[in-house]
Amino acid sequence: MSDAWFWLLAAGLCASAVSVVRSRDLVRAVLWLALGLLLTAGLYAYLDAPFLAGVQVLTYVGGVATLMVFGVMVTRRHTSASAEASNDSNAVGVLAALGVFALLATAILKTDLPESSAPTQTTAELGRALLDTYLLAFEAVSLLLLAAIVGAVVIARRRDVETRETRGSAALPSIRVGRTEAD
């Protein structure tokens, strides 16, 4: 593949990233993010990481879909969703972003970056690394995902009867039963 591909992907990626953060409509922002992630997958492929490209696409299909559901849910119900960035924080944001970029760019340009022609890891090597070199971390990540699932369920669960009638329920008067919790 030629450099042109890289520039094409990079330009698209930047454009979609800017659209993600600028778009007022949440659903659109999510769609822009999806595009951006797909373009990143393209870049991975360009950078000799086909397996990662695949994982990127697969993972984010699920993730982005969930985000989209949320976006739709939130924007449909609420007018306030369109209340977006005001101008003052806009200036702060631009400044901060420029600051971060300037910092990173300076550091990158000032550094003698290593150049190596060592071949990148193949998918098989990647798999071996995961289950050998990084075995501990791999197990820890599985614990992390388990914890996240348990946690997400605990937080998102709508109805769990809290107070026991036998004990101090009078002291705990107002369990807020919101509209969404009534069902």
């Binding site: 450099d3 890289f6 990079a10 930047c14 993600v20 953060v21 949440l26 999510v30 993010l33 951006g36 990143t40 991975y44 950078l47 000799d48 990481a49 397996f51 990662l52 994982v55 993730g63 969930t66 985000l67 949320f70 976006g71 939130v74 609420h78 306030s80 209340a83 977006e84 960035a85 924080s89 702060v92 944001g93 901060a96 972003a97 971060v100 970029f101 760019a105 990158i108 340009l109 970056l113 290593p114 150049e115 190596s116 060592a118 071949p119 990148t120 890891q121 990647l126 690394a129 990084y134 990540v141 992390l144 914890a147 996240a148 699932i149 946690g151 997400a152 937080i155 998102a156 919101g178």
Partner: protein, 98 residues
Amino acid sequence: MTLVQCLLLASALFSVGVYGLITRRQAVAMLLSIELMVNAANLALVAFAKYAGAPTQPLVLFTLAITVAEVAVGLALVMLLYRRYDDTLLDAASETKG
């Protein structure tokens, strides 16, 4: 293409994410910005693997997994926010301060 250009691209993406992180008031949009920033880090990792021969590709998988876990919990919390405040604007929840 060189490593420098890839890293600059990653930095640019990261900065855009920073912009979003600061300016977006929607909780979900803030999550999107975080996704962008992690994506930028991953891009840098892949670029290092390609041009510097660093064994960074496995790390991408780990950051992906971690982000998934974070976003899962984050979405649950946003849902909680929505239920308590009828809104997903982050500024809605600013009762504790001072």
